[in-house]
């Protein structure tokens, strides 16, 4: 894909590196040529020094043939104007703008631009980590029917064996990490304090898992 990114800050440079590594034709624009130092050595895209929404700069980056455009500068307004130019003036199929202000991010979604609000995303993630600190999905399989969850064994599970935690078709302990070493538990493997389990869980059984991990009521030792 022919991709244009404006803003070579932390997010912009990371995104450019990832897309370049994946074999895409990346064109990154920034006002400050020094910012290109953030790009990795393996970056083989084009670096363009200039103002992110100047007509000539955008055209030098090949906006007329672009498949995707991401506006990732530090300014919300700059990002939204640049994204709107890509959408309205050049009809770029995929347009993404980073907007710090969550209220604006919602409003701008109405203008048919995909907005990413790191503020909202970060706040949600932090809330999730605080409120459900023991349920942390590592991987979602298929369309989310099965989740791979890493979890520290609750204190009151001590002395139980791992096979007792399994619920056929719903919950299965796939691996255990103890003091930095991982193993696959067998029938009779004992639970030790501080063990970290990797579980395969059917997504509809997550409430059940939370229920009995949280208080250990169902399988109290």
């Amino acid at each position: 894909m022919h991709i244009i990114i404006i803003g070579c800050g932390r997010v912009g440079s990371q995104t450019a590196n990832l897309l370049s590594e994946a074999g895409h034709n990346v064109n990154i624009i920034d006002l400050d040529p020094k910012s290109f130092n953030r790009l990795g050595k393996s970056f083989n895209g084009r670096k363009i020094t200039g103002f992110g929404y100047d007509k000539d700069v955008l055209e030098r980056a090949g906006i007329e043939e672009a498949d995707a455009f991401a506006a990732l500068t530090h300014g919300d307004n700059r990002n939204i104007v640049a994204a709107l130019i890509a959408k309205k003036e050049y009809r770029v199929p995929i347009v993404i703008a980073r907007i710090y202000d969550p209220v604006r991010a919602i409003v701008y979604n109405k203008l048919s631009i995909t907005t990413i609000s790191p503020t909202r995303w970060g706040a949600n993630k932090i809330k999730e980590l605080i409120c459900q600190k023991d349920i942390n999905s590592q991987l979602s399989l298929g369309n989310g029917e099965v989740e791979i969850i890493e979890i520290e064994v609750p204190y009151n599970f001590k002395g139980l064996t791992y096979d007792k935690i399994n619920v056929p078709g719903e919950i299965m302990v796939t691996a255990v990490t103890r003091l930095g070493r991982a193993f696959v538990p067998v029938v009779g493997s004992e639970v030790k304090e501080g063990d970290i389990m990797l579980l395969s869980v059917a997504s509809e059984s997550i409430p059940k898992l939370k229920d009995f991990m949280g208080l250990g009521i169902r399988r109290n030792v």
């Binding site: 100047d54 007509k55 300014g75 919300d76 307004n77 700059r78 939204i80 104007v81 709107l84 130019i85 309205k88 003036e89 202000d101 209220v103 604006r104 409003v107 109405k110 203008l111």
Partner: protein, 135 residues
């Protein structure tokens, strides 16, 4: 007639005074607190201190009942954003704007929600060129 002016610089303040003189309802918005304080102390203008590109600030300033929105900040990005937000309102106010940098002229049109705009630099450049040609 309700007129909402975004940007309380020289242009915004002069516009506000003239429109009040004509008997219209005028509100000014500016993000610079010291500018807002000065206006409130010295002049009899209603000013809201806040970022005119923030949908909540615009709502507070009464964009939903505005007939005309004048985007006259010294930043073209801000003026364009104000126009987008104005046209998202159900009342679809008319938007007039100032263009600070001539290179941005191509964006100030109906497609961008701007009904009328002026670029003082371009006008002056035109006048100068005419003067030179007449010599």
């Amino acid at each position: 007639m309700n007129i909402l002016i975004i940007g309380a610089g020289k242009v915004g303040r002069k516009l506000a005074r003239d429109m009040i003189g004509k008997g219209y309802n005028v509100k000014l918005v500016d993000k610079d607190e010291s500018v807002c304080d000065k206006i409130e102390k010295k002049e009899n203008l209603e000013v809201i201190c806040g970022d005119g590109c923030d949908p909540l600030v615009l709502e507070l300033a009464g964009i939903k009942i505005a007939d005309i929105v004048a985007a006259v900040t010294s930043d073209d990005e801000d003026n364009l954003v104000v126009a987008q937000l104005a046209k998202l309102q159900p009342n679809k106010p008319k938007v007039v704007s100032i263009i600070n940098h001539p290179k941005n002229e191509w964006l100030f049109n109906k497609k961008w929600g701007i009904d009328a705009s002026v670029c003082p630099t371009s006008i002056l450049a035109g006048i100068i060129e005419k003067e030179i040609a007449n010599k």
